[in-house]
């Protein structure tokens, strides 16, 4: 088991955002977490990546407890977070945005040339996945379209060489054909050996690419199972797929 959340609760002040969440991601899996606005999906990802501390329970990644570690150490262990709204650095070029994604490799005390060579190699791999980014390599982040920014955000996450990729609403605000493209890229990423935890409001698409799924409602998991089964489950159809 790659990632495991056990009895996880989290509060913002006195407001409970997550209560008693149990969830796991196996190696090579795409797991999706669906739910309405404000259900706690983003909070859950933020707890995993160390931006929010849980008030109870634990997060175990690769057999190590990580819920008290700072975000940069969690990235170094192999979890990359692609945040909601992309958060591409507007005044950085595409190249700089990608390079900063590999920042975690700086502090490991390895020889500089080795790190540089590795980064170049990873840049090429990312350009293979997103040819559009190579075309726009010296353009600034702010000047990219929404779809390109999303690709850049994912590419930036991959530059950390993650074992697990956390994707927060990658389809948000994208045209339908781009949504399809993003989801097919998520499948490619999994084929290349990275597990994915995908948070989505576009439940139909998410359930199609995922292996397993969890449904989050006001901070608690109300349903879980194989994605294909959930796609046809009555509760999910009514609440999230429009009947």
């Amino acid at each position: 088991m790659l990632l495991k959340l056990e009895n996880l609760s989290s509060h913002y002040g006195t407001v409970q955002a997550l209560s008693d969440v149990n969830l796991y991601v196996d190696e090579g899996e795409i797991v999706t977490l669906i739910g309405a606005n404000g259900a706690g999906k983003t909070t859950l990802l933020r707890v995993i990546s160390g931006l929010v501390r849980p008030s109870r329970g634990q997060v175990v990644f690769a057999d190590q407890r990580i819920d008290q570690l700072p975000p940069d150490e969690i990235v170094r262990m192999g979890i990359a977070h692609v945040p909601e709204g992309r958060m591409v650095f507007p005044a950085f070029t595409v190249r700089e945005n990608l390079l900063i994604g590999g920042v975690n490799r700086l502090d490991q005390g390895r020889p500089r040339e080795e790190v540089e060579a590795e980064m170049q190699q990873d840049l090429q791999a990312i350009f293979k996945l997103f040819p559009r980014l190579e075309e726009r390599i010296s353009q600034y982040g702010w000047s990219l379209s929404g779809g390109e920014q999303q690709m850049l955000a994912i590419g930036r996450g991959l530059m950390a060489r993650p074992k697990l990729l956390l994707l927060d609403e990658p389809s948000l605000g994208l045209a339908p054909f781009l949504v399809k493209e993003v989801f097919s890229i998520i499948e490619t990423i999994r084929e290349q050996g990275t597990s994915v935890l995908l948070v989505e409001q576009n439940a139909r698409m998410a359930l199609r690419v995922a292996d397993r799924a969890y449904v989050l409602e006001t901070g608690s998991i109300v349903l879980e199972g194989p994605a294909k089964a959930l796609l046809h489950a009555d509760e999910v159809r009514k609440a999230y797929l429009g009947g």
Partner: protein
């Protein structure tokens, strides 16, 4: 190929600037104007330090003036009390100030953000001034320290503004080059990521605490060097030099020149030390003019003079050379 020739052209341009700067004492005979240039160098280094902290990392602060004071006293006392030569006193002042900056940064960066941090830095400026004023056994209090020795190197005493200028210029070049190297390194990229979006930087694994402490410490080191140069150039220091008003002046230099640009502090510091000399007749209104300039800049040129020229150049390229891509970031 095009890129290399571009880089070479840039290097030639910088070398020309350095040569011109080195020839100034041969042309300018006035001791008074050479003194102004030496002071400009001190301000330039202060502003360059603030630029790392404010321009690269995006934090607001006023500590530069306190570091300036600490550097001045550390260097002067090092020479007077500990009998250090200038070439030991200056690095001593830089390291000592850097250490103070580091010790202040550890708790501040851990706990404070945005204007809470700025207020802390204002408090630090006041505390530093009060200590310099009241620790009379060490600093001689409000009377100040007179008779600070001049630097000597290879038998040459740098006792005139014309001679001292070369020492100032040397440190300006070294510290500007350091700013340039930092900005274009991965460390600089991480600092600028914090400025652009601190949460995003944290998400992708930037140790924001570490880089903020580093930026702050570096700005303190710059302040220490500037303080040392000031003390040995003027020969007399007193606590009432290092007042909050000066912190605002340094801040204006960075903002007017262009924060985040390596050249920003250069342009800002030269402009704000030389132009007031021409405007001496309206000296009382200096603060008013600075204030107005900053307001106008904030509205019309949020990225300073260098930011504005970059935008204008890009517009010209787009209009006259048909370049399509938007190559300039419209604002911070």
């Amino acid at each position: 190929m095009q890129r290399t020739s571009f880089v070479n052209r840039k290097i030639v341009f910088y070398l020309m600037l350095i040569v011109i700067a080195a020839l100034i004492p041969q042309v300018v005979k006035s001791r008074y104007y050479m003194s102004v240039l030496n002071l400009a160098a001190v301000y330039l280094i202060l502003a360059a330090g603030l630029n790392i902290y404010l321009g690269y990392t995006g934090m607001m602060g006023f500590t530069q003036v306190a570091f300036w004071g600490i550097g001045s006293y550390a260097s002067a006392l090092g020479m007077i009390n500990l009998k250090m030569p200038f070439w030991t006193a200056l690095p001593f002042a830089a390291l000592f100030t850097g250490l103070i900056g580091f010790l202040l940064a550890i708790p501040s960066m851990r706990r404070l953000k945005r204007f809470y941090l700025s207020v802390t830095t204002i408090g630090f400026v006041e505390i530093t001034r009060l200590i310099l004023e009241n620790w009379e056994s060490l600093t001689k209090g409000a009377d100040g320290l007179p008779g600070i020795p001049r630097p000597v190197l290879w038998g040459i005493r740098f006792n005139t503004p014309h001679k001292f200028y070369y020492i100032s210029l040397f440190f300006v070049i070294v510290l500007t080059a350091l700013s340039y190297i930092i900005k274009n390194s991965r460390v600089g990229l991480a600092m600028q990521a914090i400025r652009e979006d601190e949460l995003a930087a944290e998400v992708i694994g930037v140790n924001t605490f570490r880089y903020k402490v580093l930026a702050f410490t570096l700005s303190a080191v710059y302040g220490g060097v500037a303080g040392s140069l000031y003390a040995h150039f003027v020969g007399y220091i007193s606590p009432n030099v290092y007042v909050f008003q000066e912190a605002v002046t340094v801040l204006c230099m960075v903002l007017i020149g262009g924060s985040g640009y390596v050249g920003g502090p250069i342009i800002g510091a030269l402009l704000l030390t030389i132009v007031p000399e021409w405007l001496r007749f309206m000296n009382e209104y200096k603060a008013l003019v600075y204030g107005a300039a900053v307001v106008v800049m904030a509205v019309y040129m949020p990225r300073g003079i260098l930011g504005a020229t970059e935008t204008i150049r890009a517009r010209i390229r787009q209009r006259f050379f048909g370049e399509k891509k938007a190559s300039v970031y419209p604002g911070q």
